[in-house]
Symmetry: C2
Subunit: 386 residues, 2 copies
């Protein structure tokens, strides 16, 4: 086991009818004014917006609202929110939405106290030193942004979808009421679930001695999510399935899967996918359903025993030839069975677009830990994924 | 899944040669003076004391030392440390030792800022409102005190071994270097490991709908610890086994196993054992190896499917009659195979002592969640355990 630091200080308040606690939580922390960050409008239909604002009013927390955060969130919106945070002298940012809303709120929390451009943190020109506190009400599970130290944002002008990491970005408190997810679109449930599964797999394929328990944990988490997603495709209002999937999504990328590994995981698939979704605006989880199996096929010879273990313990493929590749094919079949696209051509990417995606992703190359991935490798993986 | 709050904000710094970070960690948090709480002296032999004091000196953190904390830690010692914290105007408490040292340091951190007797918090006369921050260097794994909100202390005059719980008691940072545990006595490795296994089982037998993943997680954790403890009995210096057992012990009682359950678990076995170890001063894990199988046999009819699941998934007992009881017998056999006593008579308890233990434990009755346990039930469990 490699040395590691584990730190996930976010308080999770989880369950039915928990959203009306938000005002009391903020007031108890002495927060009297927030900017609320919102997405595309579902919170106005499912009662979440009404519950949050009633609670803020009740507990005397002043607020203003910034809506319109979309999936693959944009730097322009982050900058608008920073301006609002400053002009309102807000004491905290309140994310009310899914992972994109959380990422946007977190980036804005960092930018509001930075004497310069917030993108400085994404491109490494500045290191986070302070941030406004972030609180959240989660309405769609997937990214684990509600319990991690990451924010991913796209700068539109050069299609860079990059990440910033800092302990300052852990939300103080995240409320997760799984029942409000009963009405999200099926493809959002699927895409969010696939994102979470791939978060675990990014860690899983980078092994080290002494990780027997951690690897078992990763498999347990993946199997649980793989059971629950199709249950929700059948019955979106199944509370127990929603709750278990939501909790697993939160755990999938809160650091627990990553401990004790070289580089904490691989993440080449995520980096490549970020270039796909930055340019073509496909949902992140959909992009991963396409890219990750291609990456797996490309690198599996570099860690064949692990890929065979995955095939055995997740798909029961224990005998015969080519177990690693058969496990990868089974994963792709599983994604397809959920109704997810599994090839770039299915989401409007032309073969002629692949070099442009490779160029974009190669700005961060070399990628990965299972195998070092350069621009040429990225292009080959994109061709496999096409 | 029942509603829950998950909160475990302690930063864990884990691995070889991490102890020299302690001075820098304290200095970065602005802590310039601590009282260091120590146990029986092993830290002077294994280099931990030297590494800690050198790091504190290097980073300008002033300190004084309070040693002599023993297993089943005593209220008298907590009070002495509170006096020292006050007279020194210490800014934090630094635990350097095992679970008893952490529990003592945590209780003292609470008492130092309380205008009254620290026992008020244990008997419910006062609610924790503030505490000094606690930092720690763990030298023996078992209790998970390094990452939880609990402190258990014995008041000598009436043999009450009671607990206090508060979010204020999470250590800010706990350093865990598993390599320093290579020289702890075998029975301490075994007792600590058994304590951690039973922490998971206290949660596991209190089920609710929607906990499939959490139950799988508990089994994964128990199986991992059951693999590692005998490896360490054979080779105490096996780093990977130490590291994995240490991490599993930390997770076993940091709240992860307890989410979504009624009452967060049962804990009748722990309560009864506290009375055994308060009066007879046996190691806590040894007491649990004795009490928990007896409790399991006493209550298993109240949750038979869960006890059968345990037998199947932990011991492979999937066919035939009496699977629940056979699983319990297998657990007892496992504890015995580690060299642990498994009966009260083996640790110097006479049958005539049982009513006194029952009276002591019944001060907190009714106990438990699988089945409500009153004084008469406690006596029957003690007879089974005798």
């Amino acid at each position: 086991m490699r040395n590691f630091t584990f730190y996930a200080p976010t308080k999770i308040v989880f369950g039915k009818e928990t959203i009306p606690q938000i005002g009391e939580i903020l007031a108890a922390d002495g927060v009297s004014r927030v900017v609320m960050v919102l997405g595309g409008g579902s919170v106005f239909k499912n009662g979440v917006h009404a519950a949050v604002t009633a609670s803020l009013d009740k507990h005397g927390v002043a607020f203003s609202e910034m809506d319109g955060v979309r999936s693959n969130p944009r730097l322009t919106k982050v900058r608008e929110i920073i301006d609002r945070l400053r002009s309102e002298k807000a004491a905290a940012v309140l994310a009310v939405g899914g992972g994109s809303v959380f990422d946007t709120a977190k980036a804005a929390a960092l930018g509001a106290l930075h004497d310069g451009d917030v993108w400085d943190f994404f491109c490494g020109k500045a290191q986070p030193a302070k941030a406004l506190p972030v609180y959240g009400v989660l309405t769609a599970s997937g990214t684990s942004s509600e319990m991690n130290h990451t924010a991913v944002v796209t700068r539109e002008e050069d299609e860079s979808k990059w990440a910033v990491y800092s302990p300052l970005l852990f939300p103080k408190v995240s409320i997760i009421d799984p029942s409000v997810q009963a009405t999200i679109p099926e493809n959002q449930t699927v895409s969010g679930g696939i994102d979470a599964i791939t978060h675990v797999l990014e860690a899983y394929f980078v092994d080290a001695p002494g990780l027997d328990f951690v690897q078992d944990y990763c498999e347990t988490l993946v199997r649980a999510m793989m059971r629950r997603i199709p249950e929700l495709v059948k019955n979106p209002a199944d509370y127990e399935a929603r709750a278990e999937l939501a909790w697993c999504c939160t755990l999938a990328h809160n650091g627990m899967s990553n401990i004790g590994r070289p580089a904490r995981g691989d993440f080449a698939s995520h980096r490549i996918e970020h270039s796909v979704s930055a340019i073509f605006d496909v949902p992140h989880g959909t992009g991963l359903a396409i890219i990750m199996p291609a990456w797996m096929a490309y690198v599996c010879k570099n860690a064949e025993p692990l890929f065979e273990r995955f095939a055995a313990n997740v798909f029961g493929i224990r005998d015969g030839e080519n177990r690693a590749l058969r496990g990868i094919a089974a994963l792709k079949d599983y994604f397809r069975s959920l109704g997810s696209p599994v090839a770039l051509r299915e989401v409007g990417v032309a073969q002629a677009d692949l070099p442009r995606i490779a160029d974009n992703a190669a700005k961060l190359a070399p990628l990965g830990a299972v195998r070092k991935i350069e621009r040429d490798d990225i292009l080959k993986i994109l061709e496999l994924a096409w």
